[in-house]
């Protein structure tokens, strides 16, 4: 009885005409929508296009007015001279190995701390966690000067240890993020393992870590991006060319060859390309990782 009444309420009289009326209007708004988004996308892509295409121009072409996007003569020699002028390969290798160590160690130790905060009742747990949280507010510029002094005492200035050790051993954001996830894991899993006689270490390694995979990957991506593109710390802590990370190499190239625009674009392309390629391949993982890192805060 009641169902037939409901059928009447949803009868085509109200629903259908509106849909029909909206169809043609919708198509137009759809076209406009795509046009707008495309225009935005082009505006975002143009600087990159300029970078890559200019890096293939012979130097004299940059004076052509008005500037053309495409090179008249393709001139890949810019890359050879850029690679000869500055050690991009070493910068790349330095950046990569520093970032990888920091990601692996900091994510793992942050997971350990997160597990302690979420699951173990130890004295001072609450206040200590608040301290970790509060440090998220501290700008790096406040601690960088003392850090420089401390690293100097340790004789770590102008070594990669200055970049690796602090970042590996302190990741408050990671501790906070992963703690949220550990708390979401059903405690019964650990209790069952404890009954089987598993200790804390085994529970952590065999139950917690595998279940933390998604947020750990997200945190890893987030940390990697921060490390890979970091400029402030390397600029202050490193002095010798051979230790330079990729951003420092690009900056150095910029300072030395200030009028070699096409060379600078080749340098910028060399610096930007690896991560852009990775990004295009693993876009979903990266974007979702970034979104997840932000959403839990």
């Amino acid at each position: 009885m009641t169902t037939s009444e409901l059928d009447h309420l949803e009868a085509p009289t109200t629903a259908r005409p509106r849909h029909q009326a909206e169809r043609p209007r919708l198509r137009w708004t759809r076209v406009l929508l795509h046009l707008f988004l495309l225009a935005g996308a082009v505006a975002m892509a143009l600087p990159f296009a300029w970078m890559v295409l200019s890096s293939f121009k012979p130097l004299e072409e940059i004076f052509i007015q008005p500037p053309k996007l495409l090179p008249k003569v393709w001139h890949p020699e810019n890359y050879r001279s850029a690679l000869e002028a500055a050690d991009f390969v070493r910068g790349f290798a330095n950046s990569l190995y520093i970032a990888v160590i920091v990601v692996v160690v900091s994510v793992f130790t942050a997971a350990m701390a997160a597990y302690a905060f979420a699951r173990i009742r130890f004295t001072g747990r609450g206040p200590l966690f608040m301290v970790f949280l509060a440090t998220l507010m501290v700008p790096v510029q406040l601690t960088v000067i003392p850090l420089y002094v401390i690293l100097g005492r340790l004789n770590w200035i102008d070594t990669h240890l200055a970049l690796i050790v602090p970042a590996s051993l302190f990741n408050a954001f990671g501790v906070f993020l992963l703690r949220q996830y550990v708390r979401g894991i059903p405690i019964e899993l650990e209790e069952a393992a404890a009954i089987d006689g598993a200790g804390r270490a085994r529970i952590f390694l065999t139950i917690i870590l595998p279940l933390l995979r998604t947020p750990m990957v997200a945190l890893g991506i987030f940390t990697f991006l921060g490390q890979w593109n970091s400029f402030f710390y390397p600029l202050i802590f490193l002095n010798s060319d051979s230790k330079f990370t990729l951003p420092l190499v690009v900056n150095q190239f910029k300072g030395t060859y200030s009028s070699d625009w096409t060379g600078l674009m080749a340098a910028a392309t060399l610096a930007a390309a690896p991560l852009l390629i990775v990004f295009i391949i693993a876009q979903r993982q990266i974007v979702e990782g970034i979104a997840l890192s932000g959403s839990k805060t």
Partner: protein
């Protein structure tokens, strides 16, 4: 018996047979403390050595005269007084605020528009690739690209402006344009992150609510104003807090664009910290500026969190 607990059944009641918990709560307490601090150890060492120690040291430095090598001497509040009275530092503070005023609302508004429209199309990831690409590019590479785009004579930006008949300023050398130029680059690079965050927030807006509004004949504007924005407000708050903090710490662009000893009109607060501490080796003054920066960030964040009661809507 106990080994067959693998399938997720909740059969075994906590008989306490497997746990030595009853053997003595004191012993358990000691064991938990040991385990807790062992798991915490690496990050705790990091916290003490690389965060809390430096934090205390920074406060000490801010009331000291020190060049990092010789003897440290008591400075009282003279560093702070220098910060307050130095006209150059005042300009840098103004520049930082001006950069924030331009870049934060600029990024958030454009990110909202793009995210809102992206919600409505199918090829989200196609567009996202373009908007997000600058996020994964290092600020140094970004600054190198824009250094040329901004070039007053041979840069394409001014060529474009001249063709349209608009004035073509000397972006990085003209005191009126240099901060807006930084803001433009900041928006371009920061947009993609905010779009992604806002899209994640928009996905949490229940379809049923929007459909119900449709049935009631609500216009697109009304739906956005009354449903989407209130439900997105926690994301908006998060982004405004984090992006204000980020824009107050702007440094990379200025350093790559202008190099060392940048002109007064283009300096920001963090540039001054770098300049005072690591170029002029005045650690005391550098630390005092950093203390001011921290205080400003705390105040700004506090204000935003206080103001949230008026407009942020939490569903839970």
């Amino acid at each position: 018996m106990t080994t067959t607990v693998r399938p997720p059944t909740r059969t075994p009641p906590r008989s306490g047979a497997g746990k030595p918990a009853r053997s003595g709560s004191k012993q358990r307490w000691r064991r938990d403390n040991l385990a807790g601090y062992l798991f915490l150890a690496p990050q705790l060492i990091g916290l003490l050595v690389f965060m809390l120690g430096p934090l205390v040291f920074a406060v000490v430095l801010s009331v000291s005269h020190w060049d990092g090598f010789g003897a440290r001497s008591w400075a009282g509040l003279s560093n702070f007084s220098t910060v307050l009275h130095d006209p150059q530092l005042r300009t840098s503070a103004k520049n930082t605020i001006w950069y924030t005023v331009l870049s934060v609302p600029g990024t958030m508004l454009s990110a909202f528009v793009v995210a809102y429209l992206l919600q409505k199309v199918k090829r989200k990831s196609f567009y996202r690739t373009f908007y997000f690409a600058p996020v994964v590019t290092s600020t140094v590479a970004v600054a190198a690209i824009w250094l040329w785009l901004f070039n007053p004579e041979i840069g394409p930006l001014n060529a474009l402006l001249r063709q349209v008949g608009l004035p073509a300023p000397d972006w990085l050398q003209d005191a009126r344009f240099v901060i807006p130029a930084f803001a433009l680059v900041g928006i371009w690079q920061g947009l993609g992150y905010q779009i992604v965050m806002m899209m994640a927030g928009l996905e949490n807006v229940p379809r049923t609510l929007l459909e119900a509004a449709d049935i009631d004949g609500a216009s697109e504007w009304q739906k956005m104003r009354r449903i989407t924005i209130p439900l997105l407000s926690p994301t908006i708050l998060f982004l405004s807090v984090t992006s204000v903090i980020g824009s107050f710490q702007i440094f990379d662009y200025i350093y790559v664009f202008m190099g060392a000893n940048a002109p007064a009109s283009s300096r920001t607060v963090v540039y001054e910290i770098y300049q005072k501490a690591f170029v002029e080796f005045d650690f005391g003054l550098g630390s005092a500026i950093a203390v001011f920066l921290f205080a400003a960030l705390l105040a700004l964040t506090g204000l935003q969190l206080l103001a949230q009661k008026r407009w942020v809507h939490y569903t839970e």
